[in-house]
């Protein structure tokens, strides 16, 4: 058995919060193991920031490597101490059957304030009974609070692993609508599909009709699966797009034989993408929020 996410979180907190706060948390974790989600648990969840503070965990590269090893795709680089504390509480809740567990989680989500919701959605990939949380994840994608949306959509392996095609496609579209960086969606390439490519091209058309810019990231999930119907749009961007958009199309089309002919006149651009090792995060543009 390797190191668990819970033991990592506990060790990180032990190094970062004061002893009184740590004692409080560990007591609450013990109570949670015994009594599950009762009134005391709900109070502990809400008051976590008051007890442990809200500082960033500020994890080292080694910590992050351990996190990824404990659970693929576990990316706590931007987590805060209260989020870690809330996750530990959540992981202490005893689980025997999926359905009662989901109902218990529903209670937590119903009760949660903005900060709690972010912590809960972030923690989803660490929870037992992964199959049981798909509806909940889809609900997070529907949130009007961008911070909550991003807690499930970005730096979180759960959607790519568990959401069905329709739900995942909505997540991608919403990232573009909200300006959330697509390159932070875990395993996004693996979930590319032709329905999504069509939806994305339709969206590009809407933006063009309104004379509004199209994010270069949009093409990422078009290029790799493009068929006949998408080639015209890709060609339009190669011909008339901004520099970043054109680089994006080249990067996106890599490995798709259907686009070989389309790219032939753009050898210099293709070489540039290779030689400069252009990445999606560069093309997404500078965004201090993330």
């Amino acid at each position: 058995m390797g190191i668990t996410a819970a033991s990592l979180l506990d060790s990180w907190l032990a190094e970062r919060i004061d002893p009184t706060a740590l004692d409080w948390l560990r007591n609450k974790v013990t109570s949670a193991r015994r009594s599950g989600v009762d009134a005391g648990f709900l109070l502990a969840m809400s008051s976590a920031p008051r007890k442990v503070g809200r500082a960033g965990l500020a994890l080292s590269a080694t910590d992050l490597a351990r996190a990824a090893k404990a659970r693929t795709g576990f990316q706590p680089a931007h987590w805060t101490v209260d989020q870690a504390a809330r996750t530990l509480l959540l992981l202490a809740v005893p689980v025997t059957e999926p359905e009662p567990f989901v109902r218990t989680l529903d209670r937590l989500f119903d009760d949660g304030d903005l900060g709690e919701l972010v912590a809960l959605y972030q923690a989803l990939p660490l929870l037992p009974e992964p199959d049981a949380h798909r509806a909940r994840a889809a609900e997070g994608v529907r949130s009007n609070m961008q911070a909550v949306f991003e807690a499930i959509a970005l730096r979180n392996p759960y959607p790519a692993e568990q959401l069905d095609e329709a739900a995942f496609n909505q997540l991608v579209l919403k990232c573009l609508f909200l300006g959330s960086p697509l390159h932070l969606v875990h395993s996004v390439d693996r979930r590319a599909n032709t329905t999504l490519a069509r939806m994305l091209c339709d969206y590009a058309h809407e933006r063009w009709s309104a004379s509004r810019p199209v994010s270069p990231e949009l093409w990422r999930l078009v290029g790799r699966v493009a068929g006949e119907s998408e080639l015209a749009d890709l060609g339009r961007v190669l011909e008339k797009g901004t520099e970043k958009e054109r680089l994006a199309v080249v990067l996106a089309c890599r490995g798709n034989p259907n686009t070989a002919a389309l790219l032939t006149p753009y050898g210099a651009l293709v070489r540039r993408v290779d030689e400069e090792r252009v990445t999606w995060s560069e093309l997404a543009g500078r965004d201090h929020r993330h």
């Binding site: 008051r50 119903d110 009760d111 949660g112 709690e116 972010v118 961008q146 993330h290």
Partner: protein, 305 residues
């Protein structure tokens, strides 16, 4: 910089947030209240409390305004005795400890009934136990007597006057409130009840110690810019800078800061990006270039999408 320590943002549109941000409002405090017509079940209260600590907080942040709230069962709906019992035992204790909740409020009297008094006392007990500030709504009808009684009851429950904000004061109530050591908040209405000029007169007479101004802007005819406008009028009519700052900013911070849930640094030096709320700070306030090319494009992101 201004603080509006009593405003019902749930009733207001994003136009108001934009105008408030532009006028220099950095923080809003939203007490829990009724929503026009009486709620009929506990779920409606839970939904409301949830949105005070969730959606509304997020919405305000998109305009560079920090949002805090108060949790409580309001005076009017305390008259639904059965519902009151559930709200007070199930919900208020749970929500009052959440992040950004600065007080138990707004509680007190509306018609001055027995049921209202019972709920008022129960919530004063909660506030006492958790050592939280209290925001007291004073009735619009029979105000002088209701205000006096509210203070008597607060003292009876062993609550320090310095932890209690008595709101919706007027010329008839102010002296007793200040004499007895409570904070005196004044709601500036555009047409009825207390107005700007009368407020200036009050500050000229009583000074600004423990005095604060708010808009209580809600679904009715009200002005979310009441605080900055009153500040401007105070300046025009010769009130000292320091008094204006107290009445329109620092007293609110001091009174509700006792909760530990609101600090000046929340808006003067937030973390570059507050991941929780995607709060970006008021770029006008901080003298920075707005991050977005087109003004208002960020605001366009707040759509019910």
């Amino acid at each position: 910089m201004f603080i509006d320590p009593h405003i019902h943002m749930q009733a207001r549109t994003t136009d108001d947030y934009e105008a408030m941000a532009k006028a220099g409002v950095v923080a809003v405090l939203e007490p829990a209240f009724w929503v026009g017509q009486p709620r009929t079940n506990v779920g409606a209260f839970q939904h409301y409390f949830s949105s005070l600590v969730g959606w509304e907080r997020f919405r305000a942040a998109q305009f560079g305004i920090r949002h805090y709230c108060m949790i409580g069962l309001n005076a009017k709906e305390a008259n639904n005795v059965e519902l009151t019992r559930d709200v007070l035992t199930e919900l208020v204790p749970r929500y009052v400890g959440k992040e950004g909740v600065v007080a138990v409020g707004e509680i007190g009297f509306d018609d001055i009934t027995e049921a209202e008094e019972k709920a008022f006392r129960a919530q004063l007990a909660i506030a006492k136990e958790l050592d939280m500030p209290v925001c007291v709504h004073t009735p619009h009808r029979d105000k002088k007597r209701g205000t006096s009684r509210s203070m008597d009851i607060a003292i009876e429950h062993g609550i320090e006057p310095g932890k209690v904000v008595i709101d919706h004061n007027n010329e008839e109530t102010v002296k007793e409130v200040l004499d007895r050591g409570f904070w005196a908040a004044f709601t500036i209405y555009p047409k009825t009840k207390m107005g700007n000029e009368r407020m200036v007169a009050i500050v000229k007479q009583y000074g600004s110690t423990r005095v604060m101004v708010d808009s209580s802007a809600d679904w009715g005819v009200s002005d979310p810019l009441a605080v900055p406008k009153t500040a401007r009028l105070m300046k025009e009519l010769g009130i000292a800078e320091e008094s204006i700052r107290e009445a329109c900013y620092s007293n609110a911070l001091r009174a509700y800061g006792q909760s530990g849930q609101i600090k000046e640094t929340d808006w003067t030096s937030p973390a570059t990006v507050d991941q929780r709320t995607l709060f970006e700070g008021n770029s006008v306030l901080r003298g920075q270039e707005p991050r977005i090319e087109e003004p208002g494009e960020r605001r366009a992101g707040v759509v019910i999408e």
